[in-house]
């Protein structure tokens, strides 16, 4: 907007000043108004210089313009008075300044200057009133300042340029006059014309001299201003470096360099522009110089000052844009592994370069290695230098991008000295810090520089399992290093400082944020602090490096524990953590406080403090009388969560109570969100389709179950506190003979080592591991796993039993009570003992031993799971219901359904590579489900109904005994081939021929059958006459039977089912409580 218009729009107070200004001025306001634009366009200041012809020219132009206005028809009658005023003003001006137009020029220049001053004042006041302190963040404030200053600087440089051109004009004029008029060596002082010319020449020189001084002063001023600008930019860059460092640690930070690049480039451009102006000034001096020529003294001074600024700018502008980074899933830069690829990138923020100059960038590792004994030395493989081409990437800027680098340790130097590796060094490998330095040969506008910049220190490891502790080092360094760019910091871990808790807390929170998009809340940090300090942290609390990364009462350090949780989150719990469903870090005390006031079934999810990378649920129950009780499940680790996701575990978790339907105690997620509402989105899709379609398989679901007795007496809250503490610490290891009676109380692990009788009548028992011979009787109470290691009899009378793991030979009798899982350990002795499941006991038996027999007495219900390489027999007595599940390759299992098992439903599931022989006795009903890739003969005995359901790719043998109903439905379109030439099959058939069953009529088949088309109607295949064949089948399935294929023969499964992985049991392991 034109100045005069702006002046008119000022507030009244300031307008008053303008009126005052013009009240006494020789230039009437009418004239100012009338010729506003023209007046503002002229350079009055320059015209005001003495002896300038410019002033006269301007003065007469003004008068002429006024005359024009007066004559123009544009002014109507109403402007008669104005016309009159103008006419008068013109006459006055002419009278007053005709003789001294310079004075008039000076007057106008001053008036304009004064106007500008008033305008500034007015606008400043206006801004102050209009925008009442826009309290923007100081950071964005600085950005605005930079923008503003850059614009000002740009304008000022242009101003200097204009002044320079003016100077050039003046010099040319002087030079011309000098050459024309000045005649040296001739005394013409008597010639008045010559004297006058000489005086004019002298005046011209004066003007020239003054203009030179002005340009120089302007440049000095500019350099002073650019210092401030430079300082702002350096601060901004410093902030960026800090942000980058934080981002390396996983903090969310903006590390975009674009604005900085723009600013640096702009400032660089202006400074180089000044440098060129300075050189042009030098050229002017070459043409005309005189005594006390200011250019002579000042140019070198200015040039040095300018070059220093440019050098500083360029050196700081060379930055490591991307710190050394090896691709890894945890986004952890600055940890490099030998022989694996990494990349690093540096950038010059000043995007100016000489296109004719070849810019070479190089990288060096540990150019100035610290004097530490045993400090490893490395070579960078692949090229360590790179030429940045001029036209490489104009929009991307000047980038030195080094990719596909690898590191190789220099072995020879140390072995030559006879040193023995890391043992010599005072620092462990993960505390050794290395640096990569970039150098760049820069040239532009005659300025040649060697720029260099260094990465942040990084750690070099040789094995992935060092990643965790290497990352701890990187965190510690970047969190606490006072001057990360100082090469001396490579010795940081010679004396690592302690971390103030608030700083550490922040950094730990970033870890969670970067892994699972949610940081640590205040409560989490409080718990962590209490874990570290044993009390509430004060702002002055500090954590030492060994305390953080090395020491640990529980066998692992604080960091290892935390990193275990991070790993668990990363792999399995990301969405739950992100959405805040995991309370996570809650101490037991706090946990009780939180849950106490909540209704029964309220639960929370927290991380285990006792094992690495474990997560568990704790819920509260309010018994009818007494204080609330808190229950926690044994922590799940990554291995378990890999087979079943936590939301599914929570959904299906069941607590078995005697004479009740199993119930899920996890009802409400703390504070009070219904379980399914909270976890619904995370449940894996149920396979509803198989239920509504035909029954290809019996539906199964893997669920987690805990059991307890219904009439169990709840403990008081206080007792429970003791109990949990006991669980953590107590280990009873009586070594003597005799009878041990634990009648009541809480027991972590009971490991009696002697002979005798153990009687646990009541109480909660973590693990019972009797090592001696004798009888174990657990009559009442809750028992976790029972793991007898030696021969004897384990009797669980009336008990909620989590897991029964007989490691020794002996008979386990579960007479009454609920049994979760019965697991037979591998060290069983001969002969195999039968397990008897009495009525009313749902039974899961996991045989990891050979020759385990599960006998189902009437009304018993059980599942026999046979692990890899095992053999098991399930014998269903009349009325028993059982499932035999073969899990791994090489399994051998026999299912015998005894006579009279009317209600029986026997399902033999062979998972891939399992081999088994189901034998269905007379009158038994059996379903053989064959999963892909496994081999097994099905031998229905006469009178039985046998069904073989081969799934794709199976080899199955169906051997019907004469007289047996043949229900095998083979669709006609399916290719069924007899394989008489198959050697294994042949052998098998031969062996079977020797057995009680006749082999005639057997059908060997190998086919690719679509399961859906082979659905038998099981219910129809019922028969009455059943013949007990138990003994025979047991003999058939002796482990040393040469005719049954061994596990080695079987190829590994292409697609393993849930059960092929080694399914971790629901057990309390004694190791948890150390």
């Amino acid at each position: 907007m034109a100045q005069w218009q702006e002046v008119q729009s000022l507030a009244n107070a300031h307008l008053e000043r303008v009126h005052q200004l013009y009240a006494g001025a020789a230039l009437p306001m009418t004239v100012r108004q009338c010729l506003a634009a023209w007046i503002e366009d002229q350079n009055w200041r320059q015209a005001a210089e003495p002896l300038s012809s410019h002033a006269r020219m301007l003065f007469h132009s003004l008068l002429a313009l006024l005359g024009e206005r007066l004559g123009s028809p544009g002014l109507g009658d109403e402007d008669f008075t104005q016309k009159h005023n103008l006419r008068k003003a013109r006459r006055d001006l002419q009278a007053e300044f005709e003789e001294c137009p310079e004075r008039f020029a000076n007057l106008v220049a001053n008036l304009l200057q004064e106007e500008r001053r008033i305008l500034r004042l007015g606008q400043a006041a206006g801004q102050g009133a209009a925008a009442p302190a826009p309290s923007a963040a100081p950071e964005s404030d600085r950005k605005q300042q930079i923008q503003r200053r850059l614009a000002e600087f740009h304008a000022a440089v242009q101003e200097v340029e204009r002044a320079f051109w003016h100077l050039e004009d003046l010099q040319d004029a002087f030079d011309f006059c000098f050459k024309v008029h000045y005649v040296p060596g001739e005394d013409k002082s008597n010639d008045p014309q010559y004297v006058r010319q000489l005086q004019a020449l002298q005046a011209k020189l004066q003007t020239l001299d003054r203009q030179r001084r002005e340009v120089l002063a302007q440049m000095q001023q500019l350099l002073g201003r650019s210092e401030r600008l430079q300082e702002f930019l350096q601060q901004e860059l410093g902030d960026w470096r800090e942000r980058q460092q934080r981002a390396c640690m996983g903090a969310p930070a903006d590390t975009c360099l674009r604005p900085l690049e723009t600013w640096f480039t702009e400032l660089g451009q202006r400074l180089f522009q000044l440098l060129q102006l300075l050189r042009a000034l030098g050229e002017l001096r070459q043409k005309v110089t005189y005594e006390r020529d200011p250019l002579k003294a000042e140019i070198p001074l200015l040039e040095r000052r300018l070059k220093e600024q440019l050098t500083y700018l360029l050196q700081r502008a060379f930055v490591v844009e991307q710190q050394p980074n090896m691709p890894n899933p945890c986004k952890r830069p600055l940890v490099l592994r030998t022989a694996s690829k990494f990349s690093a990138r540096a950038r010059l923020l000043v995007r100016l370069h000489d296109r004719n100059h070849r810019m070479e960038a190089k990288i060096h590792i540990d150019r100035d290695p610290p004097k530490i004994k045993g400090f490893r030395k490395f070579n960078i493989l692949t090229s360590s230098s790179k030429t940045i081409l001029a036209g490489d990437s104009p929009q991307e800027g000047l980038v030195c991008d080094f990719q596909y680098l690898t590191l190789k340790e220099q072995k020879d130097s140390r072995s030559g000295k006879g040193a023995k590796g890391a043992g010599e060094s005072p620092l462990v490998v993960t505390e050794e810090l290395h640096l990569i330095t970039f150098t760049l040969a820069y040239a532009y506008c005659g300025l040649e520089l060697e720029l260099e910049t260094s990465t942040l220190p990084f750690v070099i490891i040789s094995n992935t399992n060092q990643l965790s502790s290497a990352w701890a080092s990187v965190l510690w360094f970047n969190m606490l290093s006072t001057d990360p760019s100082n090469p001396k910091e490579q010795q940081f871990f010679s004396a690592p400082p302690a971390a103030p808790w608030p700083r550490l807390a922040e950094v730990l929170s970033w870890q969670f944020e970067s892994v699972a998009e949610r940081g640590l809340a205040r409560e989490h940090l409080l718990m962590l602090a209490e874990k570290l300090f044993g009390s509430k942290p004060s702002p002055e609390s500090t954590v030492s490096w060994p305390k953080f990364s090395k020491d640990g009462a529980s066998g692992f350090s604080f960091w290892a524990w935390l990193d275990g949780i991070l790993g668990l989150l990363q792999e399995h719990l990301k969405p739950l953590w992100k959405d805040g469903l995991i309370l996570g870090f809650v101490s037991r005390k706090q946990e009780k406080k939180l849950l106490k006031g909540k209704r029964t079934g309220t639960f929370l999810i927290r991380f285990s403090e006792s094992i690495l990378g474990g997560v568990t649920c704790t819920w509260v129950e309010h018994p009818e009388s007494g204080p609330p009780a808190f229950r926690a499940v044994v922590p799940y680790t990554a291995a378990e969560l890999a087979s079943l996701a936590l939301p599914d575990i929570i959904r299906d978790y069941q607590l078995l109570v005697e004479e009740n339907i199993p119930e899920n105690p996890l009802q409400f997620l703390y504070p009070d969100t219904p379980r399914d509402e909270a976890f619904g989105p995370y449940y894996s899709q149920r396979q509803e389709g198989t239920l509504t379609e035909q029954k290809r398989y019996l539906n199964r679901r893997l669920i987690r179950v805990s059991s307890r007795q219904a009439n169990e007496s709840w403990q008081t809250e206080e007792e429970l506190v003791v109990a949990t503490e006991n669980l953590e610490t107590l280990q009873l290891q009586p070594g003597g003979l005799g009878t041990q009676q634990v009648t009541s109380g809480n027991l972590g692990t009971l490991q009696p080592g002697g002979l005798g009788m153990q009687q646990v009548t009541s109480g909660n028992l973590g693990t019972l591991q009797p090592g001696g011979l004798g009888t174990q009787q657990v009559t009442s109470g809750n028992l976790g796993p029972l793991q007898p290691l030696s021969p004897g009899t384990g009797q669980v009378m009336a008990t909620g039993l989590g897991m029964l793991q007989p490691g020794g030979s002996g008979t386990l009798q579960v007479t009454s009570g609920n049994l979760g899982t019965l697991q037979a350990g591998p060290q069983v002795l001969e002969p195999p003992q039968p397990l008897q499941v009495r009525p009313g006991v749902p039974e899961v038996l996991q045989a990891e031993i050979e020759g385990l027999v599960l006998q189902l007495v009437p009304e018993g219900q059980g599942t026999l799971q046979v692990g890899p390489g095992d053999m098991g027999i399930m014998q269903g007595l009349p009325g028993g219901l059982g499932t035999l599940q073969h899990m791994g390759p090489g399994d051998q299992g026999t299912q015998q359904v005894g006579p009279g098992a009317v209600e029986q439903q026997l399902v033999l599931q062979l998972v891939p590579e399992g081999q088994g022989t189901p034998q269905v006795g007379p009158g038994g009903l059996g379903t053989l489900q064959v999963l892909p890739g496994r081999l097994g003969p099905l031998q229905p005995v006469a009178g039985d109904t046998g069904t073989l359901q081969p799934v794709a790719g199976d080899t199955g043998t169906l051997q019907p005994v004469p007289g047996a109903v043949e229900p095998l439905l083979v669709p006609e379109e399916l290719p069924l081939e007899l394989l008489p030439g198959d050697l294994d099959m042949q052998e098998l058939l031969e062996s079977l021929a020797n057995g009680p069953e006749p082999s005639s009529g057997s059908l060997g088949m190998q086919g690719t059958l679509e399961p859906a088309e082979l659905m038998p109607n099981v219910a129809e295949a019922m028969d009455g006459g059943l013949d007990p064949r138990l003994a025979g089948s047991a003999a058939l399935l002796a482990p040393h039977d040469p005719f049954l294929p061994q596990s080695e023969d079987a190829a590994p499964a292409a697609a393993s089912s849930l059960f092929t992985t080694d399914f971790p049991p629901l057990s309390i392991d004694a190791n948890d409580f150390q």
Partner: protein, 416 residues
């Protein structure tokens, strides 16, 4: 005006050839010389430099009685106010005007701006006795200064030539076309002005405006004989390194260090009259009175291997507001509560230097007392700046050509 032009004419010899290079060398030597004079034997021997400072202001009355001058100060203060309203009007209207560099005169220009932007000083300057004869006029520094001020204000030009003034000064051993040391030149200038002021009451006012009063204590460590001496100085010459040559961190630290007692032992021992031999002494300095305009000289140079001086350009921040009573401890002052209460200062001007000791440029950052805005004076170029720009003169270890504050001029706050 004619005299000025005459000088200009005389100074030019029209020659398109290159000028001689000798001059630069000359000025560099001079700067070295005066700084050596000024801070000879700095390290470990503080008292020398302090004494040297006192010697420079020898014309000032030693041992001024603080209380007397304080009572008398009431009167000038009231007068000052009246004068300010009289003369300040003219000053108020003024924009900051530049001074052309007439050849290595950036130092003089900067100091002139500091003097002339100080309305308390111009208030005195405007009342000087005008010499009667033209010859006297030409030689009278305060008069020439006043002329310059008038020219700056009247002309409404962007900048004026201080040629006549510089010429006048050259009669008082202030050479033309030579790079000076600002602290040195300030003392010379001040003394010459005071000497030629003419009216005794003005001399007193001028002294009051600039003089710092301290009490020197010298105590023999053997016999506890204590000698006290009142002395005055024009600037506080603050070391920027401590006695073991470590960089001091802030201006406040420098002040603390300056007023910290010092033990004189070994070859620094003094002769004790009572003991009759050289004994170790404890030397201390106590602050008695601070003037309205307080000049602080940061001794940003040090000697490495005897002869070579180099500039200390490290970072040393100074505050915009400075409370001396908060900086100094109780036993570093010798003043009553009234005096101390008045020790509230705000920064008025910074004379900054860029370049090396031998070779560089001066500019001045001055906060206009009427407008309360910062200006930067680079010879003929004047521009309005912000406090951020002034902060840029804190110094920078790696940049020798950055502007670093050399003289700090603080102004006593007007107490309501």
């Amino acid at each position: 005006m004619t005299a000025l032009m005459g000088f200009r004419q005389a100074s030019y010899v029209l020659s398109p050839s290159h000028g001689s290079e000798k001059e630069v060398g000359d000025c560099t030597e001079y700067f070295c010389l005066c700084t050596i004079l000024f801070i000879r034997k700095r390290s470990g021997r503080q008292e020398r430099s302090k004494k040297l400072e006192l010697a420079q202001s020898e014309t000032m009355k030693a041992g001024t009685d603080v209380h007397n001058s304080k009572e008398e100060a009431e009167e000038p203060k009231a007068r000052d106010k009246r004068l300010m309203s009289l003369f300040g009007v003219a000053d108020l209207k003024n924009e900051a005007i530049g001074l052309y560099n007439i050849g290595q005169s950036c130092c003089l220009n900067s100091l002139l701006q500091v003097f002339l932007m100080n309305i308390h000083f111009t208030g005195i300057l405007r009342r000087i006795m005008i010499p009667r004869h033209a010859a006297q006029m030409k030689r009278n520094v305060p008069y020439q200064m006043l002329l310059l001020l008038e020219e700056m204000q009247r002309g409404k030009q962007k900048a004026v030539f201080p040629t006549a003034f510089a010429h006048c000064l050259s009669a008082y051993r202030v050479k033309l076309f030579v790079q000076h040391d600002a602290a040195q030149l300030f003392l010379t200038l001040w003394n010459v002005i005071k000497m030629q002021m003419g009216k005794p009451e003005l001399v007193e006012e001028l002294s009051d405006l600039y003089t710092i009063c301290v009490q020197e204590h010298l105590a023999c460590q053997k016999c506890s004989l204590e000698t006290k001496r009142n002395s005055s100085m024009l600037t506080l010459p603050l070391p920027v390194l401590d006695s073991s040559s470590h960089k001091l961190r802030t201006l406040e630290d420098c002040l603390q260090h300056f007023f910290h007692p010092e033990e004189l032992t070994d070859h620094n021992m003094c002769f004790c009259e009572q003991c009759g031999r050289k004994t170790p002494f404890l030397q201390s300095m106590k602050l008695v009175h601070l003037p309205k305009t307080l000049t602080i000289h940061l001794k940003r140079f040090c000697f490495e291997k005897s002869a070579y001086i180099h500039k200390l350009s490290h970072y040393l921040p100074f505050p915009q507001d400075l409370d001396f009573s908060a900086v100094l401890t109780e036993d570093q002052c010798q003043a009553d509560d009234n005096e101390k209460a008045a020790w509230q200062y705000e920064l008025f001007a910074v004379v900054a230097h860029s370049g090396s000791t031998s070779y560089g440029h001066y500019c001045a950052y001055i906060r206009s007392l009427t407008e309360r805005k910062w200006y930067c004076f680079n010879d003929s170029e004047v521009c309005q700046v912000s406090w951020d720009d002034v902060k840029c003169t804190y110094g920078h270890s790696n940049l020798y050509w950055a502007e670093t504050a050399y003289l700090l001029i603080y102004m006593k706050k007007q107490l309501q």
